[in-house]
Amino acid sequence: MARKILVLGETKENELRNVSFEAIAAAHKAAEGGEVVGVLFGEGAASHAEAMIQHGADRVIVSEMDELKQYTTDAYMQAMEQVCEEEQAEGLVIGHTSSGKDLAPRLSRKLSSGLITDCVEIEGEGTNAQYIRPVYSGKAFEKIKMEDGFLFITIRPNNIPALEADSSRSGNIDTKTFTISNLRTIIKEVVKKSTGGIDLAEANIIVAGGRGVKSAEGFKPLEELAGVLGAAIGASRGACDADYCDYALQIGQTGKVVTPDLYIAAGISGAIQHLAGMSNSKVIVAINKDPEAPIFEVADYGIVGDLFDVIPALTEEFKKVTAS
């Protein structure tokens, strides 16, 4: 049965995040031919609405109200509640991002709905769809079905493929204002720790360093390799704890959870806390001096050796490939 599903898109540094497109694809599966309506808030929202339509949204609701410029729980709760009410939507898909994680459970309670967070795959369609999500730090998966009623899921970035952009698609873009009051939390400042460039959560290739890089300086060869590959740089908790890099780069249970196509782990032993953040990557390459390191158990390809020899050699080889 066709049903109307909303997708809350998300921008970061004035770019629409990929997960917004992936959420549209997910919404189409749940909608079973029903309407998929994009929702986008904040500065420049209207200018990104077209991209949501090209990727499969049938129309988009935008708001550039000052109160929605930055994500805050109270403002987004009130705006989304009004959108859900006006649209009489039968479902909502949000990215499992920092703001998505903050908003979804609270909004779900408001809507008296169930919620399935962190979905990585959808099996079947419409009301029969089942949602697959990792549990036990990625060591297992569960398959969940939503009972009748409002369908509400958050999806992990980089897992559910987005639809191909189609520039011939068109749809309405409606600008709305909402009643927003009583904002209890004020954002004073955002201290940027991430390096900019490629977003770790959405990167296709990640080059990550662990304690084996030995110093902040030791990340240099990794950065060179990442430059050649167009990859993002990540790190294990060990490297962050040792102050070789900022916590913004941390991948793991307590850092970011990533699922790139290619994950190159250099000098990372592979503690469970790290594996939880990356073991579902499509292809894993491990480079470590210790042949017994647990990282080799999850690796598709392993090189036992000193990363300071192996990484520069790899950089040279990749240069040859990318040049040809």
Binding site: V135, A140, Y247, A299, Y301
Partner: protein
């Protein structure tokens, strides 16, 4: 200050996971206080030391969770409450737990409620925010620093690696992220004292909730392990040769570059 901590007893995810017929085999497994809830407990103790007051640790579960509640009491909580679900006949999910907690907290007049940002077993991260909404309470999630002066609260929170500095006020619910503090271990005197601290059990039936109304809205139909990965290829030869082989394999076999 009336301080509450939400605690979950979880399967230790460092354990090997065995699944039989779609269920996780918990036989002989190790159970622990959810590591993120330990940050919440530690922060509660720090708050009490600075501002005075009382710490109540609350869990939703069954009798076996008393062990983890005692651990929390040994760390420094003053009393513990088990919301016992044994009498609930309907299926339970995060929606249910949120409603049960809301029913309990309606009469508590909490100044601050602290929880972990996620539980390491199911990784859903739902219950704390559901409770905040149930109580119409202000929420700030994934916090890494907390300062309270009177009712004014300054918080640093982790936003995908960046730090957001926010100002807000009590009453407040927060979820705790790694980096907030280093949780203490229960001391021997702490463990002895914990045995005498009050641990109250409230049966589901006493919470004035309609079983059917709060029954689960989601159903887990299966659990499974990730497809077994064949043993990875360990590349041999000189460094140059290994690099060549790897690039070739990534190109022609794995097809990721």
């Amino acid at each position: 200050m009336n301080i509450f901590v939400l605690m979950k007893r979880t399967f230790d995810t460092e354990e090997k996971i065995i699944i039989e017929n779609g269920r996780i085999d918990e036989e002989g497994a190790e159970f622990i206080v959810n590591p993120y809830d330990e940050y919440a407990l530690e922060e509660a103790i720090v708050l009490k030391e600075a501002h005075g007051g009382e710490i109540t640790v609350v869990t939703v579960g069954e009798e076996e969770a008393e062990k983890e509640l005692r651990t929390a009491l040994a760390m420094g909580a003053d009393k513990a409450v088990l919301l016992n679900m044994e009498d609930m006949d309907e299926a339970i999910d995060h929606y249910t737990i949120g409603e049960v907690l809301t029913a309990y907290f309606k009469d508590q007049e909490a100044d601050i409620i602290l929880g972990g940002n996620v539980a390491v077993d199911d990784g859903a991260g739902q219950v704390a925010s559901r409770l905040a909404e149930g109580l119409q309470m202000n929420q700030v999630t994934t916090i890494t620093k907390l300062d309270i002066e009177g009712t004014k609260v300054t918080i640093e929170r982790d936003v995908e690696g960046d730090v957001e500095i926010v100002e807000t006020s009590l009453p407040l619910l927060v979820t705790c992220q790694q980096g907030l503090n280093d949780p203490r271990y229960p001391s021997l005197p702490g463990i002895m004292k914990a045995k005498k601290k009050p641990l109250e059990t409230i049966d589901f039936d006493d919470l004035d909730l309609d079983e059917e109304e709060i029954a689960a809205k989601t159903t887990t139909t299966d659990r499974f392990l990730p497809p077994e990965k064949g043993a990875g290829k360990i590349l041999e030869g000189s460094t140059e040769s290994q690099a060549q082989q790897l690039v070739e394999l990534l190109k022609s076999e794995a097809k990721v570059i």
